[in-house]
Symmetry: C2
Subunit: 238 residues, 2 copies
Amino acid sequence: MPAAARPNTKPPAVSHEAAPRAAATPAKRRAGRPATAVLDQAVITSAALRLIGKSGYDGLTMAALARSLDVAPSALYNHVASKRDVLVLVEDHLAALVDVSAFGAEPWDEAVRRWAWSYRDVFSKHTPLIPVIAVLPVTDAPQTLAMYEAVSQGLREAGFPEERIISSIVALESFIFGSAFDVTAPADIFDPGSMAESTPSFTAAVRSLADQGHEKPADVAFGLGLEALISGLGALRR
Amino acid sequence: MPAAARPNTKPPAVSHEAAPRAAATPAKRRAGRPATAVLDQAVITSAALRLIGKSGYDGLTMAALARSLDVAPSALYNHVASKRDVLVLVEDHLAALVDVSAFGAEPWDEAVRRWAWSYRDVFSKHTPLIPVIAVLPVTDAPQTLAMYEAVSQGLREAGFPEERIISSIVALESFIFGSAFDVTAPADIFDPGSMAESTPSFTAAVRSLADQGHEKPADVAFGLGLEALISGLGALRR
DNA sequence: CTTAATAAATGAATGGCATTCATTTAGTGG
DNA sequence: CCACTAAATGAATGCCATTCATTTATTAAG
């Protein structure tokens, strides 16, 4: 190593290389740990959400995420172990947006209704998260766990027998997740096209639904199933 | 082109190059269209199913699929336009395995029950297909369409009002898809771990369920939700 | 019967992806 | 003061789906 002293305070304010340019391209960061940290999990989460909003889940790549944060891709791995971790961070952020405020303030069935619609609406824009959530231990997602606590408490106070509370939540949640996919389906998904003659019952039912209402089919089906679940589950309370 | 006559029947049975070796490595196919086609959609579908069975959906890559068929990856694209097409072929094959035989032979509620359990069981081993199915036009999946026809007819004969048949099927199917994910979740997914003190209602409910039954939690929740849906939907028949 | 068009294969790219690793620099605890 | 750890860069790695030029065989047209 050459004897030249390493400056122990700061390097000369102005290098002979480039004067601090106007904010356009704010001067590339050089290698090594920066004076103040650029990344943390919160910063990564909100950048991921912004990116998803702009480019969808196809656009959410580690490279794109890094670029949006003006950072090298490998830098992300100091704060998350994998891309799946990023998805978990996003999921837990969204769980906090689900409305559980009616539990304790409204009758249980109305509280479930509001929670379920809100839950579906939030995640219908984030269906790629559902395969992740569905197998995610609650320990790894504190906001999600908080949501479960609110719902559990609501059902207990409504007189649901203890041993049926989790099963009821799981049943409702399964319906909600499945319905979230449904929201994203194209409008003409059920058009039987050239196979119409060979499927008369189905074809007639599709026509009838189309003629009937102007409400969105996914909303009709969700409302129908949710009311069925609420009354069916409610019948089993003590 | 040299004047040597092209044989108009068969080429000489034995080339001077290589005698037909014992079946071990059955001699590499040379470039160009083979005398009899190696691939078609049925062959690709069953190879994909075999591969999924052995290596799961992570192992289902176009390269691995090609290798299992002893073919170059690019050859697959003469028969499918994309990997998504392969998934659609698999999906439609599985739809034919779903049991709709009880429609027309049993009371409608029992028929729905058998259909729903069968549907969930088939797709719980194939959850990566669910995001594909959920937005797949029925025209692209004839077996799936046939399943819908059977269910539609069953519900019509049971007295379901025409305009509510599709919505009822969609509601049931949403519940089934969501529940299929649930089957794949780890057993301890609800263990609140260190957060137990801050989530007393939830924690107690989890304990109670665990103490209670030895039936699989996913099955209990599915049975509970399905019965609720059946009775709720049945109440709306004419 | 010849010939053009089409179908089905190979093999060599291409560009994108998540992830890893060596290296550099800055803060921190003993 | 010094070792250790944290947080960044930049260069690789290996895998992936897909495309393209090319070769060979079959089929349809004239």
